[in-house]
């Protein structure tokens, strides 16, 4: 068989800068959904701490740091982003490899909040939504995971199949914000 060439979800689409806001693709590494078994959340959190240095995130929160994060991902699950999951995790949770299944981008700049305000029906301004906060919500018509990873930076995840729509919708909003000066 020929050697296959790896292609990232947003290849050929990013990076992009409009006005004060930049959109870049993240290289998330291994992505694993972690869904604790009934009553096992505490034990899972201890195992996560021991193996990867971060606890299991509470609802609407992310733990860890760039390169090794656990992002709350909805009812009864979190996404471990970065490290290869330690075998001990599977004693407490259903572990599913999701690598390459998600498009992961970083929206950054002074106007990033204004761009998201055009697309997301949740208040993501810094007073309500601080570093380490995350939401599952809609980005225009897509379900998305949005996490504040810096003072003016957000990590946004959608299904890989929607990468082009994600970039299109964000670009349109970035242009709208920039046009207002």
């Amino acid at each position: 068989m020929d050697k296959l060439i790896a292609k990232s979800p947003c290849e050929g689409l990013l990076p992009l800068t409009v006005g004060s806001v930049t959109l870049t693709e993240e290289e998330p590494g291994v992505m694993t959904s972690v869904a604790p078994y009934k009553g096992c959340e505490e034990a899972l959190s201890e195992a996560l701490k021991a193996a990867h240095g971060m606890g299991y995130p509470a609802a609407n929160r992310a733990t860890g740091r760039a390169g090794s994060r656990a992002v709350w991902f909805g009812h009864g699950q979190a996404m471990l982003i970065g490290p290869v999951p330690d075998a001990t995790l599977s004693e407490h949770a259903a572990i599913v490899d999701q690598s390459d299944a998600w498009a992961v981008v970083r929206l950054e700049g002074e106007g990033a909040e204004d761009v998201l305000a055009r697309l997301v029906p949740v208040d993501l301004r810094a007073a309500h939504f601080k570093r380490g906060h995350t939401v599952r919500s809609l980005l225009f018509h897509m379900t998305a995971s949005i996490t504040r990873v810096g003072d003016t930076a957000f990590q946004i995840m959608v299904f890989r199949s929607m990468a082009e729509t994600l970039v299109h919708d964000l670009k349109t909003a970035m242009e709208g914000v920039a046009a207002r000066g």
Binding site: N60, G74, V122, V135, S137, T143
Partner: protein, 87 residues
């Protein structure tokens, strides 16, 4: 219209999918008999007042939620995770 998801907090109605009366949570036993199953599958109350519905937080955390509301005043009275309402 806003619905308070027990996980996510108050959210816009567009994030939710409506299922119907929360009677889905009171599924009869397999041997409950024809009448109980007929009621469960086909018959619904149509109250003027308080009712309980199932909503799915589709554009959010993916939880099924029981929403209590008043069909006369349109007031939303409370929400609860379906997984907890059942247990």
């Amino acid at each position: 219209m806003r619905i308070t998801c027990p996980h996510c907090g108050e959210r816009d109605r567009r994030e939710f999918y409506y299922r119907g009366a929360a009677t889905d949570l009171e599924r009869p036993a397999p041997d409950a008999g024809e009448e109980a199953w007929d009621n469960f599958v086909f018959l619904r109350e149509n109250p003027a007042g308080e009712t309980r519905d199932l909503w799915y937080h589709e554009g959010g955390c993916g939880a099924w939620i029981v929403v209590a509301r008043n069909t006369v005043t349109h007031e939303v009275l409370g929400t609860q995770l379906a997984s907890e309402a059942r247990s």
